[in-house]
Subunit: 308 residues, 2 copies
């Protein structure tokens, strides 16, 4: 994702200079070759020294450590953001760090909702940020001007920004991302050897997410475990209920089967309608960000992505 941010920012001229920071020289070499950075270094201190905005492009479990290193190395007034898929824990940790260390930098949590099941700089070109949503998760401690800067950065990358509290973000993402990931893994476990071998395009799409990085996803699930468990229980109960409806369907010709069929038809039709409204139609004008901060601003100098 860090590579995708660099690529998109360079292509769209969203920053005057982009410096990549990686922990392995091969990673930063590849970032350079791909055109994801103007310059790159394995020296975090050097990489963030002149930055106006630092994007922490590391897995969620490493964000607090990465933030600690950046806060110690960057100049005052530097704005730091991240790409973490769970927010409440991350934002609290980084804000606590800033308070403890009395750092003069600012932090604004971000979550660009894009990405793929693949990770690593190799797949940076496959991630499409333009047109995708990006959630910013300010808290009462967030500096307003920094919020606007980060918001404008994501908009400059062509993203639609949304403002949610870290807790609302996590509750939402439990439904829209963490639950689907878990379903995808569980759906693989539900297959026999043969049913997996004979998979059609439906099963392939439904299990794509199970190709994701395992450690990254255990971390995300752990960070959002409370919300995720709640949503999973809801979903399990729904499946249990639907199984009973389907069981009634089997009693063909009975009034019970007929009314179960009508309820199931309605259930599927409602889902299809919501699906088609969201995905099949052209994006409605109302999907444009309703954010008040639309004024354009000077292009930011943006050095990241630390950690490769």
């Amino acid at each position: 994702m860090g590579g995708a941010v660099g690529l998109t920012a360079r292509r769209r001229g969203a920053a005057t200079r982009i410096v990549g920071v990686g922990d392995r020289s091969e990673t930063i070499e590849q970032a350079r070759r791909m055109g994801a950075v103007d310059d790159a270094t394995v020296d975090l201190r050097e990489g963030v020294r002149d930055a106006d905005l630092v994007v922490l492009a590391v897995p969620v479990r490493l964000i607090p450590d990465a933030a600690r290193s950046v806060l110690a190395a960057c100049r005052p007034q530097t704005i730091v953001t991240d790409l973490g898929s769970s927010k409440a824990g991350v934002v609290a940790a980084v804000e606590a760090l800033i308070a403890q260390t009395k750092a003069q930098a600012f932090f604004v949590g971000s979550h660009p909702i894009a990405g793929s099941e693949k990770s690593g700089i190799e797949s940076a070109g496959e991630v499409r940020l333009e047109g995708a949503a990006c959630v910013l998760t300010p808290t009462p401690a967030t500096d307003n001007e920094s919020y606007r800067t980060v918001d404008e950065f994501w908009k400059a990358l062509g993203m639609k920004t949304h403002r949610l509290s870290p807790e609302d973000h996590d509750a939402m993402l439990a439904r829209s991302s963490h639950l689907p990931h878990l379903l995808s893994y569980a759906l693989i476990h539900a297959q026999s050897g043969r049913s997996l071998q004979l998979a059609g395009p439906g099963l392939r799409d439904m299990t794509r997410l199970s190709g994701s990085d395992v450690r990254l996803w255990v971390d995300i699930m752990q960070q959002n475990a409370g919300e995720l468990a709640r949503v999973m229980k809801e979903f399990a109960a729904e499946m249990q209920h639907l199984a009973q409806e389907v069981e009634m369907l089997a009693m063909a010709g009975t009034p019970g089967a007929e009314s179960a069929r009508e309820r199931l038809f309605r259930y599927l039709a409602d889902a299809k309608q919501r699906h088609d409204e969201q995905f099949a139609a052209a994006p409605a004008p109302s999907e444009e960000p309703k954010d008040e901060n639309l004024r354009s601003k000077d292009t930011q100098v943006v050095p990241p992505p630390p950690g490769g």
Copy 2:
């Protein structure tokens, strides 16, 4: 799907003449324009009169009726197959029909596991049959020579054929197709307005199947209701169990959380491994059909698809 069969058969020269039968003149006109048929008609009797092989390309609920019409119109020794996603009910119904009417035609159940959430002739070009699996579902009543003919037809379309009893097919498809469809619809219902609006590519892929034709899918679920309900209950119990594991994860720092994390890691890693073996690797030679009937045979004259 009928359109896709016609398109692929013509492109690959799998039949000397393909006649499409549709119930609306617009459908057959479009099939002709797309090059999915050599000729097309709304007159079923005319369409199947000279056929060696008839492919019933209609929704599962209409297969018995379509078979009845075809059996009354085709000459003796005509081979009839279908594309139905559930098989036990369909195959039993058509075999009973042949026995009752003392028809001289042969029936072999087929299920090409391809297709998309879209239906209608418009989307025929989007269905990729080449390389996909096709399950044939013979019974003790199936004529061997007809089985081989149908098997060779699907192979001539580039498909990998598999032989399963109708009941084994349905048990397998409950896992690999009908459960994923239901999960897809249920996942839409699990979304709030906002979580759906902010959907990323993961949720989009996981809910693609909920854009499928509702009536078609209620029918398929009803036809396979017994197996599907069983698999759904299993899945619901698994989700309930996983929810408890995730709940333990939330108690960070406790030994319970640590061991839950290890179990979840193993669960995700096992799924990822199976996923990657199936979908990420190049097709292994062992995926080639192990069918004994590989000898080539004269190209068949193949008039379908009835019903558009």
